[in-house]
Amino acid sequence: MKDPYEILGLARTASPDDIRKAYRRLAKKLHPDLNPGNKESEERFKDAALAHELLSDPDKRKRFDAGEIDASGTEKVRQRYYKDYAAEAPGGSPYDNRSGYADFAGSDDLFAELFRQQAQQARRAPGADLRYRLAIDFLDAVNGASKRLTLPDGGTLDVSIPAGIAEGQTLRLRGKGVPSGGEGEAGDALVEISITPHRFYTRLGDDIHLDLPVTLTEAVLGARVKAPTPSGPVMLAVPKGSNTDTVLRLKGKGVARRGGHGDELVTLKVMLPSEANPELEAFLSTWAPGPSYDPRREMQP
């Protein structure tokens, strides 16, 4: 990061007015929207904007002069300029203006022909794509679902969500975007999916993880317990002598993937009764488990 005074061509004693003027002089030359296609001016404008932001704030300027923050301490970079959008959707954009070369197409040579082709191409250009974001439930993402999006203009859009869709995946709905300004095809609607977390399932890749509370009796003696899965509850055999953090695998109960399903991994959590239990207390006071039962063994120095 260069020195902000140097970037703006100023002495350290410059007044706020000098700073504003110096920045304006540079910005008029360098603003990316006034120089589309010129990467270098975009970089230089970014530097100038950062330098201006730093020096135009008296507090930040004082701290920079005192050496408390460096020149990059103010990074708030703008990601995209208007020119990026203008270049992206010619034809589909209401701002598209071709009057600047309309006269070129009037004559009768090779270039005029090329310009006429251009104009025709523009008429046939497809409309712009529209982007939406759709939040769906965890279970809808796993099992698949059909959702209806209400659009800002009051219309609706039916989205069919395939089973096993992942966070951030984008669905393309052909022809549901902006209609072409001319005779081209309509653009597409791009729907980005976000998945709201579930109360007790979490998903890692194609597998679903679940913490399942079991009673002391079920863990020690073994039992068949009901375990929820996204496709409905199943009976799960808890083996005799299970413990907290014992992991049991329910094959094929995970998320759909190419050629099958992931698994559901059930982590057992042994829960003691929440109320005091005199019989349990009486039993434990007479119970001697033996010297090998030391759960804190690994923490010994």
Binding site: Y82, Y85, N97, R98, G100
Partner: protein, 96 residues
């Protein structure tokens, strides 16, 4: 992504009155009509550009309209130029 009017006003930091003037001046041309205006990310970026022109560069209201009009023409020309270059190079990238 279509942006509804209220959302747009909030994200652009604009008030209703200013928006009405800008639309009247055709600085912004949202899709839809009346209360059902629909804006785009490009419109948001255009608001930022207008701000840069007025606040950053000290351009006055009359100047903004002129600049936007010329910019729109320049983008039309850039698009035409890009298309011309493409046809001149031919499909396989070699020159005709």
């Amino acid at each position: 992504m279509i942006i509804a009017k209220l959302d747009f006003l909030y994200r652009a930091g604009l008030d209703q009155e200013t928006l009405d003037i800008w639309i009247e001046e055709e600085w912004l041309v949202p899709a839809g009509t009346g209360t059902e205006l629909a804006f785009s990310e490009a419109d948001l970026a255009r608001v930022q550009l207008i701000r840069d022109l007025t606040d950053g560069l000290g351009v006055n209201g009359e100047g903004v309209g002129v600049i936007l009009h010329l910019l729109d023409q320049m983008h039309g020309l850039r698009f035409a130029m890009a298309g011309l270059l493409e046809s001149a190079r031919g499909k396989d990238g070699s020159r005709v």
